[in-house]
Symmetry: C2
């Protein structure tokens, strides 16, 4: 105990980590990528001296299979021709036809069975996708018991900053549903829901609320790799997403949430919204339980009626919708992009609503069936809730 | 509203996703990898027809830079010569010297600034690293305010299954600390802490407990990419890990946890443990606040004394340790691998404890400074707590 030796970084593990072939850690990527330049152009780099061809595939303007160029040291580089508009982008490299994420970028996201590298340009509305210097809510991965399915199923729950310190204060609840191929992580990860809520609540534009993100694939307990089914390839599971059972059993989730969190339980304090299949779920659930939600958001929703023979929640849709609108929801909000493949059926749905005289609000954006739209719709929808 | 059209998968988004060049989703990887065979050998595959050489780099027996072989279709394959022992392994491919994760495997983990593909062989103790068919606790990413640093900082908190339904029941708390280069996500991700706790609690081997995983880098609010510093390269941040401030301010965390969760607040209901640097933190914190913890776990800990001039928490270490042991902790548990680069200083530390007559328990494993040891130590440490 008498020995006094300076404790260097080495003594605490960094050097051992470098030296351990078994762990094979690279402490610093060999190139810097992506580099967001001052003018908001972006430079991508990949160190692959032996590659014959490297393409950049990104979902930003001009990012569609761009040839990268190799310098004398074997580093492939591409700088975008134009500054990138503010957005959360995804990209990959294609190296001699092999698709890879950017080895220099640890920030990735999974969409179904594909990983993408991430790039966030903070400009305009997309600043809300960044983690702000604001009070942060908590994000919980938790489980509820589904009596109807006889299993535990997972929920992602956002509670706003101050929830833990606010004593008996009760909060309104938004149920936020993912699309096909998604899961209870989708809105928190691809949708940046926590960041959007933290930032907009901090500015006073959005009421502090609880946001509950269930798994809409009733055959799955939870996201791929996070269930007893182990680390399977995500596409191999059939999730029974459209057999009506998820929608029919939705009160189980509401009931669990009301027992577990300090919620307001009146209709005026409940909202439901979803994208694509989750929009369909939101439409069906809110009309099946017309006393439950005063706010409904259909983002690029699949609104074409389903064969009524499938499940009773799909039957008598007109009658149920009439009842829902007799109960006068405070907001029935429909949003879709002009290039969305579901645009046509949304036109038909709105015509039917118009014909029946049911009030709704409509927002049409550019673009198609994309997360950038759904994030933007969330930013538009949230300030309308609970005020 | 009269139109009845079968809602196909296509109508709900899958086809649009395939068709969208912008989103560039691959719904199914072009090869199956990794494939765990019935005999627990593993087959790795990579579809890279134009590559000249592909190596497999895995941290399993025989996984060190193994040459893969290309078949006529351009798929590189390797099957391990031997069944793999139960373990959570990480691996990568090296394609003509370019290191990549396995494109067919969406399960990855980040260690500092490197991503690895994951492979879990469920056999023996490593079954506890899988998500069992058992009740699951909740895992929350939440924030506390650090008065000492003047910022909000993040915690990962595990609450055991039943916590939300157990009324006024109070729980003991384990504070579980990461090593250098880690963060508040490390134990939950690389350490599989949730899975281990869920499984061992379900078997009745471990008391239901709250586990709090703070960020031990006092200069960082939270893990890379999850703070206002944005998506930086993890190694570019200097985390001020050894200036004493994290240890000195630790009661802030305990106090926040006791205010926020239904904790038992007596010494017999508090444990602290950590790996490497986190073991050093656990040693320093538990002797600085000798009334706080009855259980101390030093996993591959950096136990060599630090220059006392750095911070007062490093001063008078012998005196403080004497006070700690006068308070008779129920368990002072030291574990290390025989190949660990910190082995020598652990020998010296134990000799000092022996000389002073301070009781401790010691566990020595094979191997070195590795997560496989820290997961194993956690499985050994947990059943000793709070009983």
């Amino acid at each position: 105990m008498k020995i006094r030796i300076a404790l260097s970084l080495a003594a605490l593990g960094l050097v051992s980590v470098i030296a351990s072939a078994q762990e094979a850690l690279h402490l610093r990527p060999d190139v810097f990528s992506p580099q967001i330049n001052d003018d908001l152009t972006v430079t991508f780099r990949l160190n692959a001296p032996k590659a014959q061809e490297v393409l950049l595939e990104g979902d930003f303007p001009g990012g569609n299979s761009q040839q990268m160029h190799k310098d004398a040291s074997g580093v492939w580089t591409l700088t975008t021709a134009e500054p990138l508009p503010g957005e959360l982008y995804s990209y990959a490299f294609r190296v001699d036809s092999l698709r890879i994420t950017d080895p220099a970028n640890v920030y990735t996201m999974r969409d179904i069975s594909t990983l993408f590298s991430l790039l966030l340009i903070e400009e305009g509305g997309s600043k809300d996708y960044a983690i702000g210097d604001v009070p942060h809510g908590s994000l919980t991965k938790t489980w509820y018991h589904s009596d109807s399915e006889g299993v535990d199923r997972r929920l992602t729950v956002y509670t706003p900053a101050g929830y833990e310190q606010s004593g008996d204060l009760r909060y309104p609840v938004l149920y936020l549903l993912h699309g096909m191929g998604g899961d209870e992580n989708a809105w928190a990860e691809l949708g940046r829901a926590s960041q959007i809520l933290d930032n907009m609540i901090a500015r006073g534009e959005v009421e502090p609320m609880i946001v509950v993100m269930p798994n809409g694939n009733i055959d799955l307990q939870s996201a791929p790799g996070e269930s007893k089914d182990g680390m399977y390839v995500p596409t191999t599971k059939l999730p029974r997403t459209m057999d009506g059972h998820f929608e029919a059993a939705f009160p189980e989730i509401v009931s669990h949430v009301d027992r577990t969190y300090r919620t307001k339980t009146d209709k005026a304090s409940r909202a439901i919204a979803g994208l694509s299949m989750g929009g369909m779920h939101s439409m069906v659930i809110s009309r099946e339980y017309p006393e439950m939600f005063d706010y409904v958001g259909l983002f690029s929703a699949a609104v074409r009626p389903i064969y009524a023979t499938r499940h009773e929640v799909y039957r008598d849709d007109e009658k149920k919708l009439r009842k829902q609108f007799e109960n006068a929801p405070k907001l029935y909000w429909i949003a879709i992009g002009e290039d969305d493949f579901l645009y046509g059926e949304n036109v038909a749905f709105r015509e039917a609503l118009d014909k029946a005289g049911y009030p709704y609000e409509y927002f049409e954006s550019a673009g198609g069936h994309q997360w950038r739209n759904w994030r933007a719709y969330l930013r538009l929808f949230l300030p309308r809730l609970f005020r």
